[in-house]
Symmetry: C2
Subunit: 220 residues, 2 copies
DNA sequence: CGGCAAATGTAAACGGTGTTAACATTAGTA
DNA sequence: TACTAATGTTAACACCGTTTACATTTGCCG
């Protein structure tokens, strides 16, 4: 009979861990968190039900890996937007915030998973202490990296004289809280308009950012 | 044998719906959402496994009722704090926000359930349109009532000249977003300090509120 | 090369969960 | 007092996460 072709994969998969992760992300995007079932992940990957357990100790571990992937993608989206936004620090910050919102609106289930808060025992943003002691260090690190990007943007704005000189870490935490609040209410369908009314999201976000920048601006 | 005493309840419970609701709220407070199992609710109420289904069509309906109770309690806490906060509009607003944060920190699981976003098809805050068409109108109404309290506080502050004159509904949505963002990151263990570090929560909240009031204040 | 241990995948089962169907009991009423 | 609707019970269903025992393959060491 046919000799083993390259894509045959009779028994061993070769990269099952990443394949499961991709299946989980796909299922999440298509059907929300409730669609992400280990059985569904296994079936979609074309493997037996218990195979994923060779690469993820538990379902939470798989979801944590997916959330970490989400933070890395979010960070990429923010930095890319800022890098193509010119020189004005406020424009760069606004571009980053817009990319943040676009990411959340475009991947609502992933965004909610990233902030689901059932993964980390330890804190995430602003954490300088034991990353390795956490249950899912990969997730902690990805989240902190994204936070650091925001801190850099604020420092940049401070140095160019656009913002008051305060601790940029606490400024960053305050701004992140605001934007996350907007996204959270929007994604959880709590705002005044429908779930897919991107216009409503943009309006609220602009109002919040306007208030925030007014409150953070250097008194002229 | 003993004639039926008042509390005998041999077969019919009398107020099983409220009893289940209370059991669910207790289980939620004690063990988080994962502890709220219909079986546990039934057992705690001292009733068979399928009895709750006579009063709640599904588990989601029970959780929605619990979330509505949460919004009513939150509204009560906010208005009580504001009513005992004197006359200064900003003090009254700050007192309301503090009560909001205290409620969330004191009932983290309930707060997260209220904003879990798996109940409403339609929007919640700021909604003037079909409350009855929603899947859980009780929840929509309780959420809108709480939102309206915040709007009233902002109108009050505007009338007394403490805030810029803008649409108080969009101001309220912006402020709610900010505070909810702080609470969400805190409860989901995303902030820079431990979960039960109330001091950290207060610090971030004060920073956010300071920025917000600065941004909303009437230019002097 | 040969064989052997570790890594990886499979099959079948366990307990727990939401939900439903069929049946039992009670309350309200004509 | 009989009948009906409301309410509660028991037993089962499918689905889920997880584990255990077993099968296959890979890689390495002699």
């Amino acid at each position: 009979m046919g000799t083993a072709t390259v894509s045959q994969r009779s028994y061993h998969h070769g990269d099952l861990r990443n394949a499961c992760l991709r299946s989980a992300l796909d299922l999440l995007e298509e059907g929300g968190l409730e669609a992400v079932t280990l059985r569904a992940v296994a079936e979609r990957t074309g493997v037996s039900r218990s195979a994923p357990y060779r690469h993820f100790e538990t379902k939470r571990a798989l979801l944590a890996a997916a959330a970490a992937t989400g933070f890395r993608r979010l960070n990429d989206a923010i930095t890319a937007a800022r890098d193509t936004a010119g020189d004005d620090p406020q424009t760069r910050l606004t571009a980053g915030c817009g990319a943040y919102a676009r990411f959340g609106a475009g991947h609502p289930h992933l965004y909610r998973l990233m902030f689901a808060g059932d993964f980390c025992e330890g804190p995430l943003f602003g954490n300088r202490t034991p990353v390795e002691e956490s249950e899912f260090p990969e997730l902690i690190e990805a989240g902190n990296d994204a936070f650091d990007s925001l801190v850099e943007g604020l420092q940049e704005a401070q140095e160019q004289g656009a913002l008051r000189l305060r601790d940029p870490r606490s400024q960053a935490l305050a701004i992140w809280s605001m934007i996350h609040g907007v996204m959270s209410l929007y994604l959880d369908n709590r705002t005044a308009y429908g779930r897919h009314e991107t216009a409503a999201l943009e309006a609220v976000l602009q109002e919040v950012l306007a208030i925030a920048f007014e409150g953070l601006a250097k008194p002229s």
